[in-house]
Structure formats: structure tokens, C-alpha cells
């Protein structure tokens, strides 16, 4: 095995002033696995990386140990410099001798030196005992499956096709468009829903790269990033296909407000969506209209804001005032949710246009009166402190978007988590369309309530992220992770030692561990692409069968022993 080269940084005295680097050098040099120990004034100044590289070439060492500063200091600068010089960063380890030793223990040089020696010993143990994970190349199927052909799914499909990637676009409806098909005006514009996505629908029809499957559902998805095996159930029976990535854009539903404010019992109580349908049929006149916001939203049962209902109501209110002169519209609201500049301007426009606003308290919701038909609404106006009685010829309820149970079923199939409201969870705010299962992306209202603009942006985002690996023939499993280059390795299951207890399957947050039948036994297998090397499986395996080569039991054991070893 090639020897280890050690570089100790003096940091212009910042380290050497407190830590006895010479004694550390002697200690390390006596270790048989160490090829040489070099003391340097610095490691992060311009030109240092090239010098280090030259020394490494000359001495022919395979692995490198750096004794320098903290990763939040300049250690990353050092590592980055070496990486740019072509040094394999998986074979370089660093120990913090500055912030963690010299600086914080400035008054105790002997203690600082001991700590520095122990830390270097631990990293040395890692280099001595660690192995490299096998780097497996994943063959990428340069095709994508997009589920759902609403604005988000269309944007994702067209985005992918625009980058030259073939797309299978599946929708349970017969034509693309989703909820937007019934919208005759999309806020905050004067454009109709179908017109807004016209170019996307046209591209779907004309692009040779997009194949649309109408009235089709996804029966099953198996596999992992780069190669998903998909079965579709359509009008002409089952189709199977393979795709490198899956974009989930199945949308959401609007809450059906049965039993609320006389809905279902009184004929002139409708939802905003039914109002859209009336508009589509050319029926705008309505006399005195009263809108109620947050019907079934921001309550104990659904403690979230559905985002789109406030601007949607502003739009419909202005439309009534514009197209049916003599009508009045009163919006009964809690908070008006128009964040940003465009929507805030839209709200101001509605105020100027003559839409009436009455703020109510969730504890004192409006009460309707009337027999058979709603004739009026009593509401306590919290801003002026009086109860208002408002004549109503039409009561329109703004109901929130709720998760579609079909999306949750798909999420289970794709092994990605849903949040407690049934919407599909992203990985993290800075990774808003990625999921825990690499290769599966989410966008649109299946993710969280969103406007059509937001849904389209999310679809585009999903496309660009999926294309980043669909454009390649093969991707190394080690860089498949969302954080390329920093993945530690991946777990490996030792079939001999595994008893098939399933602990690893239960704890793996990425669903990378699976039980597989081998002859009479059930043993664990790791899907390398999914594994993020978190080590959970290692910690629960009673038999030591799960190992990450870079951080295996021998490494951990040796590091712990060295951490407490007496240093003379």
C-alpha cells in the first residue's frame, strides 16, 4: 500500500506558536505507514497547492494528511487548491490544529499539542483503515416520465424536450391543461387559462420528443435514478417503458365545501371554481355578490393558507364589476394574502375598482340568512367594530387546494414522503423541487398550493434539474447525489453476515436498503445510487453486515482508540 504524506501548517506562527509542531512531526514520522512529514509555513497561499502537488509526485505517496485549520477557516481553500491541481480529494483528510487547538487552548501549549496529536492520529487511523467505495457508473436512460399535464407538467415536459430529452407525458384526463382549462382569465392578467398554456400545449402536440398518453394512469414504478421501470395503464391496455427521471406534477383538488355556509342546500351558494365555469358559459351577471375567503382553510383541520384564493377572488370580483355594471362585490376576508409587488398592485387595483372588503374574525365567522336561497350575510366587521348586514344574490366560497389522494399513492410508489397535509415534500428549501429519492422531482400544486405562474416556474425548475443528468449517458453513482463530489461513499451489505432482520430497511431515510431473497434466506441489498452514506444502517446492524468502506467499523474503532491514547 502506498504511504501517507503529512503536511503540517505553521500558519505563520498561528499554530506553531502554541502547538509543538516539531514533536508532532517526530511522532508522525515514526509511524510505519507515514512516508514523510513536511512542515510548511502555509498551505493556502497562492502557489502552495502546486508545491504540495510537486512534493506528492516526487515522494510517490498515495494518501495525504493535512494538519492546518478548521473547514470554516481556510481548510476548504487548501482542499480546493489541491483539487484544482488534480489531487484526488477522496484520499485527502484534514485535522484542525488552529481554531480547535492553538487558538482555543492558547494558554495551555502542552494540552494544545496533545489535542493536535490526537486529532492527527485519528485522521491517520482513517487513512490507514479506510477503503474506497466502488465507483459504479449508472447508465442513464435519457428519457423522462412526466406525470400530470397541467401547467407544471406541461412546463416540465416542454422544458425537457427543449433540451433534447424525450418525454413521456401522462395524464388521467384526455387532454393536457389541467385545472387551467376551465379558467377564463388567469390572475393578474387578462389572458385565459388555455391561452396562457397555448404554446406549451402546441409544443406537446408538435414536438417529436413528447409523447402524450391521455386517460392514462401510472400503474407501477420501480427502479431508481437513471433507470425507472414504469407500467402505464391506458385506454389501450398496459404499456411499459423506462425513464431516467420522473417528474410528479399531478396537481391538487379544490375542497368541496359540503355543509359550509349552506353549500349543497342553497342553490345560490357556489365555489370560486363553479363561478369560473359560469364565466366560461358567459354568465357573469349576479347582482350583489358576496365572497367568503378561507372557507375550510387556515382552520384547525387545514392549518395552511392555500395561496391562490385571495388573488383569485380579486380577479373574479373585478371581472363582475367590469362586465356586469350595477353589480356589487363584497369580499369577506381574514388576511388578504397578496405578497410581492405584482399581487399587491393587483390588490390596490381591486380597492380602486370598488370591490368592498370586510375583514372578519375566524372566531366569529359570517352567518347566512335566507330560506332555500341565500338572501344576505351577517358579518362582524372587526375593523370598524360593527355588525354588517349585506344583501346577497350570490354567495361564492373560496375553498383551498387540498392534496389529491392519487398523488399520495404515487408518492408511496416512488418512495418519497408527503407532508401532514398530503402534499409531497421537497428535500429542503434550497432544493425546492428535488425529493428524497434522487431522480424524482416534484412541481405544481401536488407539491404545495401554487399559482399557475409558480407552477410553470416549478415545472421548468424540475426540467432543468432532471436534465442535468439525463443529458449524460452514464453518471458515477458517487456523484449522483444532490451534492456532487462531497458524497462520502456508499454502504455495502455483506450477504454472509446479514441475517435479514430488516433493521437497515426500517431506518434508511433514503429507502436504499432492500431485503432480497437469496435461496432460502432473505438478505439486505443496498441500492448504491440512493445511498447517501449517512451511516444509519451501520449503526443499527446487529451483525456488522452493513459497512461504508470509507468509514467502516475498523476505521471508527481505530479512531476512537487513538482519540484517547496517551500522548507523550
Amino acid at each position: 500500500m502506498k504511504k501517507i504524506g503529512v503536511f503540517l501548517c505553521n500558519c505563520f506562527g498561528e499554530i506553531g506558536r502554541t502547538v509543538d509542531l516539531e514533536s508532532i512531526r517526530k511522532r508522525l514520522a515514526s509511524d510505519p505507514s507515514v512516508g514523510f512529514v513536511a512542515l510548511r509555513e502555509s498551505l493556502c497561499m497562492p502557489g502552495d497547492a502546486a508545491e504540495v502537488r510537486a512534493t506528492l509526485r516526487e515522494r510517490g505517496v498515495g494518501r495525504v494528511l493535512l494538519g492546518a485549520c478548521s473547514p470554516y477557516g481556510r481548510m476548504e481553500t487548501v482542499r480546493l487548491g489541491l483539487a484544482k491541481e488534480g489531487v484526488d480529494m477522496r484520499k485527502v483528510r484534514g485535522a484542525d490544529l488552529r481554531e480547535g487547538c492553538a487558538w482555543i487552548h492558547g494558554k495551555n501549549p502542552a494540552g494544545a499539542t496533545r489535542k493536535a496529536a490526537n486529532q492527527l492520529d485519528m485522521e491517520l487511523a482513517r487513512l490507514q483503515n479506510g477503503q474506497d467505495s466502488m465507483d459504479i457508473d449508472i447508465r442513464v436512460r435519457s428519457e423522462a416520465l412526466v406525470i400530470g399535464a397541467g401547467p407544471a407538467g406541461l412546463a416540465a415536459a416542454c422544458g425537457l424536450a427543449g433540451m433534447g430529452i424525450p418525454v413521456h407525458l401522462v395524464d388521467r384526463g384526455s387532454a393536457p391543461g389541467g385545472l387551467l382549462n376551465v379558467v377564463t382569465k388567469v390572475y393578474p392578467t387578462e389572458v385565459s387559462g388555455p391561452a396562457k398554456i397555448k404554446s406549451l400545449v402546441e409544443m406537446t402536440g408538435s414536438s417529436p420528443l413528447i409523447r402524450f398518453y391521455g386517460k392514462t394512469k401510472v400503474a407501477s414504478v420501480k427502479g431508481y435514478a437513471g433507470d425507472f421501470k414504469v407500467a402505464l395503464a391506458g385506454p389501450e391496455g398496459n404499456t411499459s417503458l423506462r425513464a431516467g427521471a420522473v417528474v410528479l406534477a399531478t396537481g391538487a383538488r379544490l375542497l368541496f365545501p359540503r355543509g359550509l355556509y349552506g353549500y349543497g342546500k342553497m342553490k345560490n351558494v357556489i365555489t370560486q371554481m363553479e363561478m369560473e365555469r359560469q364565466f366560461a358559459a358567459g354568465n357573469v351577471a349576479c347582482g350583489n355578490a358576496v365572497f367568503i375567503q378561507c372557507v375550510g382553510a387556515r382552520c384547525a383541520e387545514r392549518p395552511y393558507c392555500s395561496t391562490i384564493c385571495c388573488p383569485l377572488s380579486l380577479k373574479n370580483a373585478m371581472r363582475i364589476l367590469d362586465e356586469a355594471p350595477g353589480s356589487t362585490v363584497t369580499i369577506l376576508h381574514r388576511d388578504i394574502m397578496t405578497p410581492g409587488s405584482t399581487l399587491e398592485a393587483y390588490y390596490r387595483k381591486a380597492l380602486h375598482r370598488g370591490v368592498r372588503f370586510v375583514r372578519f374574525d375566524a372566531q366569529r365567522p359570517p352567518e347566512i340568512r335566507g330560506n332555500g336561497l341565500v338572501s344576505g350575510v351577517e358579518v362582524f366587521d372587526v375593523l370598524s367594530g360593527v355588525t354588517r348586514s349585506i344583501e346577497a344574490d350570490l354567495l361564492v366560497l373560496s375553498t383551498p387546494l387540498v392534496a389529491d389522494p392519487e398523488s399520495a399513492a404515487l408518492a408511496r410508489m416512488l418512495e418519497i414522503p408527503v407532508d401532514r397535509h398530503g402534499f409531497i415534500a421537497e428535500v429542503y428549501p434550497v432544493h425546492p423541487v428535488e425529493t428524497r429519492n434522487d431522480g424524482v422531482f416534484i412541481c405544481g400544486t401536488a407539491r404545495w398550493p401554487a399559482s399557475s405562474d409558480q407552477a410553470i416556474a416549478q415545472g421548468e425548475a424540475a426540467a432543468v434539474k432532471a436534465a442535468s443528468f439525463l443529458g449524460k449517458e452514464t453518471v458515477p453513482a458517487l456523484t449522483m447525489s444532490r451534492v456532487p463530489g462531497t458524497k462520502l461513499g456508499h454502504a455495502e451489505a455483506n450477504a454472509e453476515a446479514c441475517t435479514g432482520c430488516g433493521n437497515c430497511v426500517a431506518v434508511c431515510p433514503y429507502r436504499a436498503c432492500k431485503l432480497q431473497r437469496v435461496g432460502q434466506r432473505s438478505v439486505s441489498r443496498v441500492i448504491k445510487v440512493r445511498c447517501k452514506a449517512c451511516g444509519s444502517c451501520m449503526s443499527v446492524c446487529p451483525n456488522g453486515a452493513m459497512q461504508i468502506p470509507e468509514q467502516n467499523y475498523r476505521v471508527t474503532g481505530a479512531m476512537i482508540r487513538r482519540a484517547f491514547r496517551e500522548v507523550r
Binding site: A83, C305, R348, V464, G471
Partner: protein, 403 residues
């Protein structure tokens, strides 16, 4: 390994915050080249300076750090920090961009953060940029500098030089993505907010740095005037925003930002009385409303709907008097608070750039007009999640050329 020999573009991304970083990474991931221009010392923008971020309550910096490292590690991304765009010239194909690299007294490439300059400076003008800057470097600036040059002598890496000059560089790019983020607007013109009249009247970004766990108070909640523990803090929302005199827009992030800050105040010192004076509680993202609800349900943060009409220091300077109307209770109040945090005075950064040659066409409120590709706060007030989505979308539109 690239299958298609399609045309690869070079894209200029202006701004190295969340939006700019995300756009750069998505472009690089698809094989395009990026010039990432940032006027500050390093990447991360405003979010990197935050103590915590919502709704996860995690430190803001860590998740961003990974992204910053990815940018620096990427061979396709050229990072230009301490650089500003001077002008863009449209060419037959793409743009020629004149960029000026500014000349800091302390070169961040060389500064090892040893602090010898701070120890040597008799006037106290050498200090760390801010407490949790990454990489941590020193800053020497200020009118009090006595030109003694003792810092230059003690600096072991020759990072300090007072005679550096600004350096122009020229970049060529096929496309430009604007991701310059937001900046604070002075609340000076709106006298009723009392901004600048007392050290305990802070903007929310000032307070974020003041209360930061990695900041000078190590997470303790203290008054800025005398470093005593405040008994009460008032958070005033929509300060300068949703206000036709200054900023007509809603800054979108401030409701959640104030809720977050008030929760952290309570977490660190439950005896401090926190009141949030809001107009509409805009909590629209995933888990945001529940994050807000945690406060309604009795951990002592009071939400009062209303606006303040006057914020003024009490005679003697101990405490601040605030006159406001509680519009839900219908009462007018005058109350004393120990600290007042003003929230909302954020505008897109490019609004203050006077030279039209150096920026895209803007709308009336200073946001980038739809003709140019933009993402993050310069396009529309946005938080981290929205910025990251818009950034990826902007990346796609530059790649496919369909804006």
C-alpha cells in the same frame, strides 16, 4: 459523456446570493459556463448573514455553505467576488460586459484571519467583516484610520495594502441572468418610524445580526443602547412597505421573518414581552402558517393588527414610546417598549443603480422588467424557496432561449 453536441452557452449571473448560486449551479449542471459576479466579499448574499431561517429554524448558513462550495468546486463556474458590473454592451452575438474588481485594503485571498491587524490598530478600524462570515476575513475601513500603517507591518501574509487599485475586467457572455437580490432602504423620510433617533430602534436585518448566535452578543437578547436585557420588544411590520410614499410593494418575507425573530427571542429569554404589529399575516408557503400559529397559541407573542403612527424615544433615552391603533380591538394605545424592530424596508438592489448601461430595464418599482431574465428578489419579492425555484426556471429559459 455528453450525448448531445448541442450548443453550450456562457452565462453571466449577476449576484451571488441564493438565487444567483442556484442559477449558476443549474446552468453548470447542464454543461454551460457561468461567470458569477458578486459585489460582496464572498457568495451567500443576504441569507448567509441571517442567524436563522424559516420555517426550519436551522442556521441559515450551513445549507448555503454546501451550495457555495459546489460553486467554487465547479470548473464551469468562474466566481468573481468584490466585482460590480459597469456596463453591458450588446454585440451581434451575446454581450461584452465591463466589470470592475474593487480593491479592498485586506485581500480576502490572502487574509488568514489571524487578527494581528486588529491588535495592532490604534484606532480600532480593523475588524472581522461580520462574525459569521465565510471565509472569515478582516476588513479595514473607516474615516478614523490614522494612516499609521502598523497593520501593514504586522500582517504575515501581506494581505494588507492601501495602494491597491480597482481593476477592470471584460467578460463575454451569451446571456445574462439578473439575481442581484434586495437591499435595505433608509426609513429616514418616514419620520414617524423614528429610525436613526435611538440605538434601540433597529431594522430587522440589524436586529438579526445583533441577536445572532454567532454575533457579538452570542445569541443574548440585549438592548443596543446599554446592553441591558429588554423587557419588551415591538416588531413593526410593513415599515416603509405597502406604503405609497416609499415602497408600494409588499416585501413578502417580513411577516415570517418577524415571527421567526420573535420566536427566537422567546426561546432565548421567555420573559421578554414580544408584540408584532402587522397588517396582514402573510404566511403562504409550506408550513408557514403553522409556524405562525405556534405563536397565536400562547407562547406569549402577541399579534396586534395595526400600524404605528409615532415611534419616538422617551425623554432621557430609556425606552421608546409607540403610538398605535389596534384595529381589531378598535383601541388607540400609547405604550412603552424597550426595543423597536422595523421590518419591511426592502427593495430590489438594482433600483438604486443609476447608470442604465449597467442594469436591465426596470419597472416602476425597480423590479427587473419581464424582457430580461431574472430571479430572486430583483424579479419579485421572494424568500429562499421561491428564489431557488425562480433561479432554476431562469436557468432553463436561458438554456432554451425561451424567455
Amino acid at each position: 459523456m455528453q450525448k448531445k453536441a448541442d450548443q453550450k452557452k456562457t452565462v453571466l449571473v449577476v449576484g451571488g446570493g441564493v438565487a444567483g448560486i442556484s442559477a449558476a449551479l443549474d446552468l453548470a449542471g447542464n454543461g454551460h459556463r457561468v461567470h458569477l459576479v458578486e459585489r460582496g466579499h464572498d457568495l451567500g448574499g443576504q441569507v448567509a448573514r441571517l442567524d436563522k431561517f424559516y420555517p426550519t429554524d436551522h442556521c441559515a448558513f450551513c445549507p448555503l455553505w454546501t451550495e457555495i462550495r459546489r460553486c467554487k468546486e465547479s470548473e464551469a463556474i468562474a466566481v468573481h467576488t468584490l466585482a460590480r458590473v459597469e456596463s453591458l454592451e450588446m454585440r451581434e452575438q451575446g454581450y461584452r460586459i465591463a466589470v470592475v474588481k474593487s480593491a479592498p485594503v485586506v485581500d480576502p485571498e490572502l487574509c488568514i484571519n489571524c487578527g494581528r491587524c486588529e491588535a495592532a490598530c490604534p484606532k480600532g478600524v480593523a475588524r472581522p467583516i461580520w462574525e459569521h462570515a465565510y471565509p472569515p476575513v478582516y476588513l479595514i475601513e473607516g474615516a478614523h484610520c490614522g494612516d499609521c500603517r502598523s497593520c501593514v507591518e504586522v500582517c504575515p501574509t501581506k494581505a494588507i495594502a492601501f495602494d491597491r487599485e480597482e481593476r477592470p475586467i471584460e467578460l463575454d457572455a451569451d446571456e445574462v441572468i439578473w439575481a442581484a437580490g434586495f437591499e435595505e432602504v433608509s426609513l429616514e423620510p418616514l419620520k414617524e418610524y423614528g429610525w436613526g433617533t435611538h440605538p434601540d430602534i433597529l431594522t430587522s436585518l440589524e436586529f438579526e445580526a445583533w441577536k445572532a448566535e454567532a454575533g457579538e452578543n452570542r445569541g443574548k437578547i440585549l438592548r443596543r443602547s446599554d446592553r441591558s436585557v429588554p423587557r419588551s420588544i415591538l416588531f413593526v411590520q410593513c415599515a416603509g412597505a405597502r406604503d405609497l410614499r416609499l415602497l408600494p410593494h409588499c416585501s413578502a418575507v417580513c411577516c415570517m421573518h418577524a415571527l421567526k425573530q420573535a420566536q427566537w427571542v422567546k426561546r432565548r429569554n421567555p420573559s421578554i414581552d414580544c408584540v408584532i404589529l402587522y397588517t396582514d399575516l402573510r404566511a403562504v408557503g409550506r408550513d408557514y402558517y403553522e409556524y405562525a400559529l405556534r405563536d397565536f397559541n400562547g407562547n406569549g407573542i402577541r399579534l396586534v393588527r395595526g400600524r404605528s403612527s409615532l415611534i419616538t424615544p422617551l425623554p432621557g433615552g430609556d425606552g421608546i414610546a409607540v403610538k398605535y391603533e389596534d384595529t381589531l380591538a378598535g383601541t388607540r394605545e400609547i405604550r412603552r417598549f424597550d426595543m423597536v424592530i422595523l421590518n419591511g424596508n426592502l427593495r430590489p438592489s438594482l433600483a438604486s443603480k443609476p447608470a442604465p448601461a449597467s442594469r436591465p430595464e426596470l419597472d416602476g418599482e425597480g423590479f427587473v422588467a419581464p424582457a430580461s431574465v431574472s430571479c430572486g428578489f430583483v424579479m419579485e419579492p421572494a424568500d429562499v424557496t421561491e428564489s431557488a425555484i425562480q433561479a432554476a426556471s431562469a436557468a432553463l429559459r436561458t438554456i432554451t432561449g425561451k424567455n
